[in-house]
């Protein structure tokens, strides 16, 4: 298996193995059909997953990207963290009051300030400092972003929302189309019979191909696929630009961004074109000079 994985193009390897699974499911469906004379819906969803995993996985990989974004900019977690901190602070305050009263009762009730007062006061100060820093950081976060980055950040999430909605519709559209073909297969099997597995397979492929040929040219599909791609690539672009602007804004950042490197590539190519044009002109001038000399 490892040899095949190493040897074959990765797409070839994956499609072969997915089709082996599809074959197993179809054999199982066929054996039940031979036994009971009907085709049931069992295993068809698994076949859909095997067939379309190859196409859907890239989108689902991008869906994982959301987790990366949220872990890098954990706004929700920061807000949730503040709640925990407040609850903890209240608990500490009540513990402190309780401790203070008990200490006063057990020691000298007339003493103005106890060692516990100092201890509690010290910790309250530390806690206040921490809390106040946290309070300043959190509302300030939107103002910390460099100019431009804020809009890319907001757009990144808008495109993300559009992408997730489009992807859900896209997956549903493919699945519904697939199930229309499965229903046609089941209906056919109720009316007529397949003479062997090969005929059953051919019919299944034929009804699937018919449904998908029509889907892939439909206005609904074209519009949805266009929106899916636009929102996905806009999301990627906005996220990258947001990160690039954060990097640009950090004087300690030692790396060039992709956009900066792209600009360098663009200039190098322009210069290559100019050099090539100059070389052509020099060559033409040389030919002209040679012919003038020979004329003399």
């Amino acid at each position: 298996m490892l040899d095949l994985y190493r040897m074959l193009p990765k797409e070839s390897f994956e499609l072969l193995f997915r089709n082996l699974s599809v074959r197993d499911y179809l054999k199982e469906i066929w054996s039940r059909y031979e036994q009971f004379g009907v085709i049931k819906e069992d295993y068809f969803e698994e076949i859909f997953n095997e067939l379309f995993r190859f196409f859907l996985r890239p989108f689902e990989l991008v869906l994982l990207n959301e987790r990366a974004i949220r872990s890098m900019i954990p706004l929700n977690e920061m807000l949730e963290g503040k709640g925990v901190l407040n609850a903890y602070s209240e608990l500490m305050n009540s513990l402190a009051s309780h401790g203070l009263l008990t200490f006063k009762l057990l020691s000298d009730p007339f003493q103005q300030k106890t060692p516990l007062d100092d201890f509690i006061e010290e910790w309250r100060e530390i806690f206040r400092n921490f809390e106040s820093k946290f309070d300043i950081t959190l509302p300030d976060y939107p103002f910390l972003l460099p100019e431009g980055a804020k809009n890319y950040f907001l757009d990144c999430f808008l495109h993300w929302k559009d992408f997730v909605e489009s992807y859900e519709k896209y997956r549903r559209l493919l699945n519904e189309t697939y199930w229309r073909a499965v229903k046609a297969l089941i209906d056919f099997a109720e009316r007529k019979s397949f003479k062997d597995f090969s005929e059953f397979m051919s019919f299944f492929q034929e009804v699937l191909a018919k449904e998908f040929d029509s889907l892939l040219k439909s206005e609904e599909y074209l519009e949805l696929q266009g929106r899916l791609f636009s929102s996905l690539f806009d999301h990627i672009y906005c996220f990258r630009r947001f990160l690039e602007l954060l990097m640009d804004n950090n004087p300690a950042n030692p790396f060039a961004t992709v956009s900066q490197i792209d600009e360098a590539y663009r200039r190098i190519l322009d210069l290559r074109r100019k050099v090539s044009e100059l070389e052509k002109r020099v060559e033409m001038l040389e030919v002209e000079l040679c012919s003038r000399k020979s004329e003399r």
């Binding site: 193009p9 089709n19 890239p58 492929q205 266009g226 791609f229 636009s230 090539s276």
Partner: protein
């Protein structure tokens, strides 16, 4: 059950060649063989996939067939664009064709040569022929997309995407993205039918060799440079500029009325990438007096690699080329 696949040995390029020029990404290849005809032939390959499909294995090698007939064969290999090549333009491809044509003209001491385009290479070859008709003796276009206003799924998809939003996000359009797109155009036949056929033939070494020769080629996909992708989708698919007479290269108009040289169009009846309607209106439009179309009842790739196409169409096509190569 899968043991026999491990024994498959796929080696593309069956004919010997020399890399005679290399410019960053692009290469000019010259095939070895006995020259019996004066006019050389330059293959202009597409900037999608790799050129060795024309020399995939001995039984279906177009290059081998041409060499056997005594044609001096040259080929352009566009390489594997990287991020650094993102800003290449179609104009750069046309310039390199011109560089190669000049080099071959000098080396072979001829004024003009046969330009043979494959798929999108046909589009480039046609543009070149319109810009420099004096340097093109014969124009051969194989599965050519020249009229982009067609109703096949690929054309409809291309018309419904905004290429600039893709390339500004990812730079180049990667081979993996293209692979997924080309399979998704016909998912049932290409993902289910084809591989179920493979499962039925896992014990047949000959089938396996042919299947994997194709599969290695199909998934050996270079990226398309970002700018080239933008131009290809916007100017060719969205605006059909070549057919509408609006296309320019470096400010020079690409005028199809200048295509007066002999033209041979090879197309496939069942082509889902470049259907017959992508070439037939072009043939009607050009003023060439010596123009011919040959077709085969196959798909886009079947025209190049099917045995039936080699048994019939290619013999006739090569005869047509040979007759115009002295």
């Amino acid at each position: 059950m899968l043991e026999k696949i491990r024994e498959v040995n796929v080696k593309p390029w069956t004919c010997e060649f020399e890399v005679v020029h290399e410019d960053w990404l692009f290469k000019l290849l010259h095939f070895k063989g006995e020259k019996k005809h004066r006019i050389p032939l330059l293959f202009v390959y597409a900037f999608i996939n790799r050129p060795y499909v024309l020399d995939l294995h001995e039984d279906v090698s177009v290059v081998r067939k041409l060499i056997r007939e005594g044609i001096d064969v040259w080929m352009i290999d566009w390489g594997y664009p990287k991020r650094a090549d993102r800003f290449l333009k179609i104009e750069d491809y046309i310039d390199y064709i011109d560089f190669c044509v000049e080099k071959i003209r000098k080396e072979c001491k001829v004024n003009s040569l046969t330009l043979h385009g494959y798929c999108l290479g046909s589009t480039l070859a046609t543009i070149y022929a319109a810009l420099h008709p004096e340097k093109v003796k014969n124009l051969v276009i194989q599965t050519p997309p020249i009229n982009f206003d067609t109703e096949n799924a690929l054309a409809l998809w291309a018309k419904h995407i905004d290429p600039k939003r893709i390339t500004r996000a990812v730079g180049n359009v990667s081979g993996e993205m293209l692979n997924i797109a080309f399979l998704l155009i016909d998912p049932i036949r290409l993902v289910l039918g084809k591989y179920q056929g493979l499962i039925d033939n896992l014990e047949d070494p000959r089938f396996l060799k042919e299947f994997y020769s194709m599969d290695f080629w199909i998934f050996d996909s270079p990226a398309v440079a970002g700018n080239v992708f933008d131009e290809y989708i916007e100017r060719w698919y969205h605006r059909n500029e070549i057919m509408n007479g609006k296309y320019t290269v470096g400010g020079k108009p690409v005028d199809l009325s200048r295509i007066t040289m002999p033209v041979l169009a090879l197309y496939a009846e069942k082509d889902h990438i470049t259907p017959p309607s992508a070439v037939l209106p072009f043939l009607e439009k050009i003023p060439s007096k010596d123009k011919r179309a040959m077709s085969v009842d196959k798909g886009h790739i079947g025209l190049t690699v099917s045995k039936s196409a080699h048994a019939k169409l290619w013999n006739e096509a090569i005869k047509w080329i040979v007759e115009r190569s002295d």
